[in-house]
């Protein structure tokens, strides 16, 4: 038995440490912990509630829009505006969020994950010489290979011509994801940390020239998604077929859904969303019951009474707590761990019979020679992102055409003195919830339960590991100095530690005096 520590896990958002116990070349047990704490809930308190949509974007600069969206939905509820957000406001929010889904998914596969499958250093001389490859070749010839080398020794399986195309796509993807952000800037002012999403709708107004610019940029993104991103994913699927099994977390999936097609009122499962909400337990789909969400702290460094529903929870440390090993709480749904994210959304949408998802997934299954029950794990997550990107490039065009220049995009109402609001949406990385309480006109309490807290959660009272921990068990580690499979699995979740580690304390080794914890 040997414990391997990987710190930092790079090519993810934020600071993550992974420890795996390896025996006989296979992972037996895994633990994950975040190593940055900033304290958003603390400095949100006492501020103007409207500022939450701006400040919570700073939780994560990779998917700030999802936080702005969840925050605005919570604010809509607190201000009594949920049913009054004008169609332009609802649609522009969807266009801004949808463009960032595209950006995030493309960035995740090419900039963050591709280096685990594509060998940038192995560019052969033959074949067509695209501009992107000329730049790479000159770079390789100069021989200073940072930041692509050093790296773990990895088994690269893509055929030469596919690897070559994927290198060109790696470079092209940098341009395409940039265009996605330009699409957001048209209506959001700028990106990242766009400025438009606001309580009651958005601050900007649609114009025909803006719509035309958006569609022109979208066309370039769609071409890349359908002719490079999806084919590259299928090529990786053919080269690494066992990666649909490798990295499975179990069979529980949760999604709040995203992209409201009607005013966001009532229970989240009843809302008309392009990505539907739902909970899949052992292959059976049911409606999301928000009251079934709890946060378990049995194996977390918090006092036992911290276990509660989100929004009611508190954060009191218990450093010497026996059996605890993580500063993340463990969100559970009906007392069980649930994976959130693109694979969860795909499972929910497929089982809900959502037509566009079902058709696209069936197409990919046929291409990869798979049945739905084989679709999961590391590649299931990557493939789900590509499928979502393809669906969104079509949907965004429809939505842009529904805008009506000249009509309002924002509803107004008097700021409440005392109110509560909950904002539930899916972020690119999964189910995201903001719980807001307003008192005396200021933020009294603000709690976030973010995707990575679900996925990177520790074990619970019943000893059930969190999804990433489960996914790592059984992973092969052929060479302990090069735990490639471990980081491949972790990255497939697209973890965002800046998001996850926000209400936790910190471990400190104080000159050998043991652990000291301070939770502000």
């Amino acid at each position: 038995m040997k414990t391997i520590t990987i710190d930092p896990v790079t090519r993810i958002e934020g600071h993550l440490k992974i420890e795996v116990v390896v025996d006989g070349g296979v992972v037996k047990e895994a633990r994950s912990s975040g190593t940055l704490f900033r304290g958003f809930e603390i400095f949100l308190r006492g501020r103007d509630p409207r500022d939450a949509a701006r400040m919570t974007q700073r939780v994560c600069g990779v998917c700030p829009v999802a936080h702005a969206t969840a925050s605005a939905l919570a604010l809509d509820e607190a201000f009594g505006l949920s049913s009054k957000v004008p169609p332009n406001g609802r649609i522009l929010r969807n266009m801004i969020l949808g463009s960032n889904f595209l950006q995030s998914h493309i960035l995740h596969f090419y900039a963050l994950s591709a280096l685990d499958y594509v060998d940038v250093a192995a560019l052969d001389e033959a074949g067509p010489d695209e501009a992107e490859l000329r730049a790479v070749r000159r770079f390789l010839e100069r021989g200073q290979l940072g930041p692509f080398v050093p790296r773990y020794k990895t088994e690269f399986r893509l055929p030469k011509h596919v690897n070559r195309a994927a290198i060109a796509h790696y470079v092209k993807a940098l341009e395409i994801r940039r265009i996605c952000h330009e699409m957001i800037a048209i209506f959001g002012g700028r990106m990242p940390l766009q400025m438009a999403t606001f309580v009651g709708g958005v601050l900007s107004t649609p114009t025909d020239d803006g719509i035309a610019a958006f569609l022109a940029k979208l066309a370039r993104v769609r071409d890349f998604v359908k002719n490079a991103y999806l084919p590259d994913i299928l090529a990786v699927a053919k080269a690494y077929p066992e990666h649909f099994e490798l990295g499975r977390s179990g069979s529980n999936f949760l999604a709040y859904g995203a992209f409201d097609q009607a005013p966001a009122c009532g229970p989240v499962s009843e809302r008309k969303r392009f990505f539907p909400a739902g909970a899949v337990r052992n292959g059976v789909l049911s409606r999301v019951d928000v009251s079934a969400i709890t946060e378990d702290v049995a194996r977390s460094f918090f006092t036992d009474d911290c276990a509660a529903a989100p929004g009611e929870g508190k954060t009191e440390p218990a450093v010497a707590k026996e059996g605890a090993y993580s500063f993340l709480k463990a969100p559970r749904y009906g007392k069980e761990p649930f994976e959130v994210g693109p694979l969860a959304r795909t499972m929910v949408a497929y089982l809900a019979g959502a037509k566009p998802q079902k058709e696209t997934v069936d197409g990919v299954l046929a291409e990869a020679g798979l049945r739905l029950e084989n679709f999961g794990g590391t590649l299931g997550r990557h493939a789900s992102r590509a499928i979502e990107a393809a669906l969104l490039t079509d949907a965004l065009e429809r939505w842009a055409m529904e805008l009506v220049p000249g009509e309002p995009a924002c509803a107004e109402g008097p700021p409440p003195k005392e109110a509560r609001g909950v904002g539930l949406t899916d972020a690119p990385r999964g189910a995201l919830g903001h719980w807001l309480e307003v008192g005396e006109g200021k933020i009294k309490n603000y709690q976030l339960v973010v995707p990575t807290t679900w996925n990177a959660s520790p074990r619970d009272a019943a000893g059930r590991p969190g999804p990433i921990e489960s996914a790592l068990v059984g992973a092969p580690v052929r060479d302990e100095a090069n735990p490639t499979e471990v980081v491949r699995i972790v990255r497939s979740f697209d973890p965002c530690l800046a998001c996850a580690v926000h209400v936790v304390g910190v471990r400190r080794d104080s000159a050998g005096d043991g652990r000291v914890v301070r939770v502000a």
Binding site: P8, T35, G61, V149, R151, R178, G189, R190
Partner: protein
């Protein structure tokens, strides 16, 4: 594709180490949005003729993880024997409370290494430090009251450690990619900025020399007292909380995302993000800055 690509001749490799502390990766994502030069040209090609920025460490894009990644930091720190050979880019604030334990990066002999310690070691050996974005510049978002993690900007942190390596501050939450790439080009072409090129906050006047308000497309509305009072209205956004009159940045000229747009043009009041600790000093975002606070905003 820059014209530099076609040129023959020797290319000088300028090593850069980019580390992230108490931040959100938004600065990195913003720099990815650069258009001229674009990020692939920065990574693969010459930023200015004959010089390539050799990005040895960047946690979000580098290939290596764990030990493989940490070794790069060790080799480049002052102890590793490297002196003055690289540019250090810091993104995010430096948490200093509890011995820096609120942000840790890697382990040494089983001991988690505080981010602050990395900043200290790497700064000593650096040619210069670029403090990128409001958090690295001033402490930024995580230093908001009550600053639970004791976050500091890089300049303040290095001063507390008696380290005199030159620091170039770049404001913004996020910074405009041109401010970073332009600063890099400026340093590669002309060397480190002279005192007169920096403003009292240590930012390049090239980007932070003008008030947003003075160059705003909506300035004529302000001069004729036509103020927007509701979202989506035409008019000056001052009464909706615009901080353009207190913010030094070239956003109205340069704009964002390759000239696509900028905040005020999209109907959103400037929130002053180019200024030190903007959320704390300028908030609430959607309230006009009161006169009593205006006087204090000029303090360095």
């Amino acid at each position: 594709m820059s014209p530099a690509q076609a040129r023959p001749g020797k290319v000088v490799e300028v090593p850069a180490i980019w580390i992230q502390g108490a931040g959100c990766t938004g600065c990195s994502v913003s720099v990815l949005n650069g258009v001229a030069p674009d990020i692939s040209a920065v990574l693969l090609d010459q930023v200015v003729p004959g010089k390539h920025l050799n990005l040895r460490f960047h946690p979000t894009i580098m290939a290596g993880s764990g030990e493989v990644a940490l070794r790069i930091l060790a080799e480049n720190s002052a102890e590793g024997g490297a002196k003055g050979g690289y540019v250090l880019v810091v993104e995010g604030a430096v948490p200093t409370a509890e011995g820096g334990a609120f942000c840790e990066l890697g382990e040494e002999s089983g001991r988690p290494v505080p981010f602050a310690e990395h900043v200290e070691r790497l700064s000593r050996g650096a040619l210069a430090v670029i403090a990128l974005g409001d958090c690295a510049f001033s402490g930024g978002i995580p230093s908001c009251s009550p600053n639970p993690t004791g976050c500091k900007g890089v300049s303040a942190f290095l001063a507390s450690k008696g380290i005199s390596t030159p620091v170039v501050n770049i404001g913004g939450c996020p910074p405009n990619p041109d401010w970073f790439l332009g600063a890099v080009a400026h340093i590669l072409l002309r060397g480190l900025p002279e005192a007169g090129e920096l403003d009292p906050w240590g930012r390049l006047r090239l980007f932070h020399g003008k008030l947003v308000h003075d160059n705003c497309q909506r300035r004529a509305y302000f001069d004729t007292a036509r103020f927007a009072r509701h979202p989506g209205e035409q008019g000056c956004l001052y009464l909706l909380g615009c901080k353009g009159p207190m913010t030094y940045a070239d956003c109205p000229d340069r704009q964002w995302n390759g000239g696509t747009n900028w905040c005020v043009r999209a109907g959103a009041p400037c929130m002053g993000c180019a200024e030190a600790r903007f959320f704390e000093r300028f908030g609430p975002v959607y309230e006009k800055v009161t006169d009593d606070r205006l006087a204090r905003l000029r303090e360095v």
